[in-house]
Symmetry: D2
Subunit: 346 residues, 4 copies
């Protein structure tokens, strides 16, 4: 059994790693860290997990010590804190899947424009963007996987194959996304209290959300030219789930079936991509708790406008599930190990 550390295990992505890894046959969780809960049992902090991890206790995030007690690591830390930890782990030869933004960008300057100065730029070369459906071959060669953002996962997988195929234009793309509240993390804030997040919806981060450059980079790569993307996230009253409604122009008149054919061909054999039949569009409830991304599409009667809709669970395919998928690839395991849950519906 490979021993895994979860660094920063007291948030939602951390607890979700614990939920999923309990069913993983080749990974055992040997270390969980939390400044806030150091010394406490996992089951006292997360009553839903209870005693499933026996006497496992949260530790302070002493990274060098952790490197002794784990063979691989998941970093579920805020950006900046993450790269400090990853830097130490990488020096100790520990493969890491990092769930922050710190290793998602090849181009240091893009990262630094949207986030903070990078403290370990030399590691960027040894890292890979962990979207297996696009970069499956590269992931096992890396030592650090930059796990994609939740919104980019749903957006990129709904467009990249169409752009690669030249089926839709890289210009004038609109991505309108709606996310559940767990995407905002577990720290209480005025923006996430119940009375002001339930029974309504609002846009946020309009024209300024940090996931924008991440989406643009990978769509541009797929298109072979700079993609022009407008991305608008919304906070909807749901615990989990991101629905992305994507508007693109076809490059030549096309039917719904043509778009679906491209998806089906691009994603044939993918364990976690489900291309829905014509006239069925995704619902975030159909992927809840699972690592699936559901994709549907419609083309208008003129053949010129394509609407693509994707749905993911932001904490699974959009975070912890994809992180395990990436770790499986890093370790040469079957990619779906520990990730075969059927979504919880209703």
């Amino acid at each position: 059994m490979t021993r895994a550390a979860i660094i920063g295990a007291s948030g939602y992505t951390g607890s979700e790693l614990l939920r999923l890894l309990a069913h993983h046959h080749d990974l055992t969780v040997s270390v969980v860290t939390s400044r806030q809960y150091a010394g406490k049992h996992v089951g006292d902090v997360f009553p839903h997990i209870g005693r499933r991890y026996g006497d496992l206790v949260f530790r302070e995030p002493d990274i060098p010590a952790i490197a002794q007690d784990a063979d691989v690591a998941f970093a579920a830390l805020p950006h900046k804190t993450a790269m400090e930890a990853v830097d130490v782990l990488a020096r100790a030869g520990i493969p890491v899947v990092d769930l922050s933004a710190d290793f998602r960008f090849r181009d240091q300057s893009v990262y630094e424009k949207w986030y903070v100065p990078h403290i370990a730029p030399e590691l960027l070369e040894r890292s890979v963007y962990g979207l297996p459906e696009l970069y499956r071959e590269e992931i096992p060669k890396a030592t650090i996987v930059g796990n994609p953002g939740c919104y980019p996962t749903g957006a990129i997988l709904g467009l990249a194959s169409l752009l690669s195929a030249g089926a839709v234009s890289s210009q004038g793309i609109v991505i309108d996304s709606k996310s559940g509240v767990s995407g905002a993390g577990r720290s209480p804030s005025p923006g996430t209290i119940y009375p002001e997040t339930t029974d309504g919806i609002r846009a946020y981060g309009v024209l300024s959300h940090r996931h924008t450059p991440e989406i643009a980079e990978h769509l541009s790569r797929a298109a072979g030219e700079t993609a022009d993307v407008t991305f608008t996230p919304h906070l909807m009253p749901a615990i989990r789930g991101i629905l992305s409604t994507i508007y693109a122009r076809t490059t030549s008149p096309m039917k719904t079936e043509d778009i679906l054919d491209i998806f089906q061909s691009a994603y044939a054999g993918e364990p976690f991509v489900r291309v829905l039949g014509p006239w069925t569009l995704p619902d975030t409830r159909w992927v809840r708790g699972s690592n699936y991304i559901d994709i549907g599409a419609l083309v208008d009667s003129s053949g010129s406008r394509a609407i693509i809709v994707t749905a993911i669970d932001n904490l699974v395919k959009g975070a912890s599930g994809q992180a395990i998928q990436n770790m499986n690839l890093l370790l040469g395991l079957s990619e779906d190990t520990g990730l075969s849950h059927i979504p919880l519906f209703p």
Copy 2:
């Protein structure tokens, strides 16, 4: 006091008319109809209203008889049933605000393409589209007001003044709307039961929703040319509220303030339009239960892309509140009579 009939008063738009009209100083509800509840007290069907209407009892929808007992009427019926009732009322000289789609279109052929054959096409000339912010002058001259659809209200008011001003292009407009479930009415259906409408979101009616031609007609009128609009509604887990996120291209480089200036100028003096300051975008929770439409906008740094967001309560500004606003205009009353509620927040 003017006596008002509410025909089809057992659904959400009917009960909302009852809620609002209880505070109206110049209208008294003399007739409420419902096939299902004929003979029952209003308070037994709507315990939230209780005895506020005393002994008012639901009647069968015998329209000629109603024309004796009411001076004006609100028709809160499904399309087709509505025009049959309106036809009788109009012959009896009763001014009507019709909340269905039956009198929303000037062009009979458009109506018939999206709905059913029209039984009273001669009345279309005597009807007006009841969006007071655009057609205030025409409404008092009509005898039938076609009360706008909920989505069109939020979409048109977020774009018409920009199109009239030539600030944004009429081509390539995307309107991505998110509606609460009350918009689907009160009849139980698989698509509105709690377990499958809460905690998630889905698109529906993609490229085929009947509000599309209504939106297109009035945006085209504002633009002076045929507008090219993609409209996608979504069902979100909220009781009330429609948020419309609108994507348009500016016709020349522009700043956020330029867009807001156009709105402020277009809507100066409007009792129910609130243009939000820069960097504040609408939230459906801020209009809940009220007749307000909140509008905000942002332009990107290049000045070429404008994102406009509007929020309404679909049952008030999107239906019953706007119907009363129209009736006030028909009757020469102050437009905000009975509609001055502050939104219920949280």
Copy 3:
């Protein structure tokens, strides 16, 4: 017009006072205070209110200065802070309705056991418990009204008349209450974030909630002997509303109608109490946004067990609405002034 100050106007009870007082014909809001928002416009802090209060700006809570600018005051502050402010206001001769617990108890020792040492015990004699349905005669004689807690309002009004009438036993009473999340206030906390308050329910404050002595005091008064009450609050996924399910033993075999008769007789003429007919039990959705308390009851076939259910909106009848009702009484106004809204349903 009487000028009213709202001290502590940035929380939910404060904003609810603003919502309701906008429709009050005899009170005008002259002062609103907030340490956090001092200097800001009401409409910038509460976009749902917008410009309805024109240029009214939040002030620092400088109580002596406020006493110059207001004729009456609502104190919407946490306990302890409240009594400090009320002490100053009372010395300045300003009648106050205090929404905290500081003036709810006649017996200083009970207050101090459950809360903190009282700094103005001499004022307790000049204060009255502001439950108009029980103490309407005393309220106008007081200068300070201790506005009841939200849970006590729903619990006491569901039992006091039965206890006074000797219909149910004062022993072994169980009150199981379910509250919406707005009752926990507007400050973000781990216990009120969306992902952990939606889609589920939990009990809290079991056998230790501070509303227990308040309930017990008034039920004991009604019974004429010490009532034995078990009170359990729950946090349910709703914005507003408290449903209290009350279990009591009848003192002699009784029918449902007997219980309802006692209520109807006790509450005849009450503007805000609605006794529901047999077989209809309250729903918190039927009182949303209103000052109503709905009461229903059933007795089992043996006639020995009575189940009473009450529903209120915790922010209205459970807080700000009742505060205005009390202020109306203090000022000799019609009790329902500004409080006639029909509940918002759905």
Copy 4:
């Protein structure tokens, strides 16, 4: 592999069986029936399941034919329809777990008083009430398991061991339960549409719910005398989950720890019962999607009143999960096979 039929697989208990059995190593689903969906693929009716059951297609409920194609059966049908199917299956020698009420009562007259005339009373002797924690020894000897109701599961497991131990009185018990909406099934009805089930709570079936006799029977058995139980269900705005707040009188002064000790001892080794430590009470969110029942308790300072709180997922431990647990017992498999999921939180 044992072949299992799910008869009535288009409702929530049916789809939940499909979700859980996909992870069961010893059972394979060979038959699914649905009158409504006969001929359709599982994945077309349940997009969340997708192609996990390959080409499995819904069949008409032709029970004799099913008996050829399955070794065991789950009956997920309404009562009355269920016993007709079970009768045929039993004659064909197929062991059945029946999720309806038809085989829950040993006493035919109790069943018939609350439900309908029983068509196969002779089978009642061959059936057992499938609450493994109480009747584990009897279940493998039966051929028909009457799977407990959702409310009874949470209520009985929170009281039976205390009654057996003589720790609490069998008289004056109050059980106040709050259930998610999935408990009402998948058929649309006015009582389960979103706008009228979200953002509020109501009691229903007060003093008349059919789960009352089921609860009373097993509590009486545990107590060794007729238990006097008041049971009140409520519909709360959650998809899944039942929280039962139970009020009982101790038979002698007791501490919280005494009650917890009884539970810990009674449920030692139980795979699905989690007794929470003192001062931690259950939350339905901590069991979501899992077969756990969480139990907590508090005793007041006088030692005379005990409050016990239990939480289950009504579709899992309250229905399909417990059904699989029973089937495992019938088949001599490890009891937790296929049921080891960690709850989905948040």
